[in-house]
Amino acid sequence: MAQEVARRGKEIYEREIRTEVEPEQEGRFLVIDVKSGSYALADDELEAFDRAREETPDGLLYLVRVGHRAAHRLGVSAVGPTGSRSIL
């Protein structure tokens, strides 16, 4: 499910959100509900999740950092169980 949420999240961001928030909101955290397409912005990532959750309590949420390829960078040895690596 994790990868499906990420795929839909990226698609919604590219199609509907990017031009609204870049470059003005560069560096802020943005949480997208991939079910409804709504999103919330904040300087702090948990705050962005809180705002998105208030708006859509049953949402399926995906975090991005505006203007960045990924929300975070992480050492190669740590890889999540929910997802899996894909070399682009």
């Binding site: 948990l46 992480l74 050492g75 999540g80 997802g83």
Partner: protein
Amino acid sequence: MRGSVVSDGREANVSLKVIGAGPGHASFNFQVAIDTGFTGHLTLPPETVRSLSLPERGFVEVELADGGMATLGVYEARVLWHWRPLRVPVYEADGGPLIGMSLLRGSTLTIEVIPRGEVTIAEGSRGFET
């Protein structure tokens, strides 16, 4: 906050108290490695996320050191940081727990990089404005 470099001198660890979200909010100390190449707050392995009953927030994609991407679950926890509880996002990732630059933000980190060298994380006096 104090820790030490491991005996082969290649990893700096500190003990971090994480407050569980289950009944009674039991807290546990974890040895966490300091990773300045990690831009987030904290990673914990899946079994630890489960045992602490951390609430799930959503998903995130992270960029790995080799340029690959991984999708991880995001959870929320409270940790004891400079003697105060702090709400932080937790990324579910295999391997040993890591703390990254978002948690260290505003602090002063010193590492004596020799086997069993001293590690200190002191509360910064200058603060940090985003």
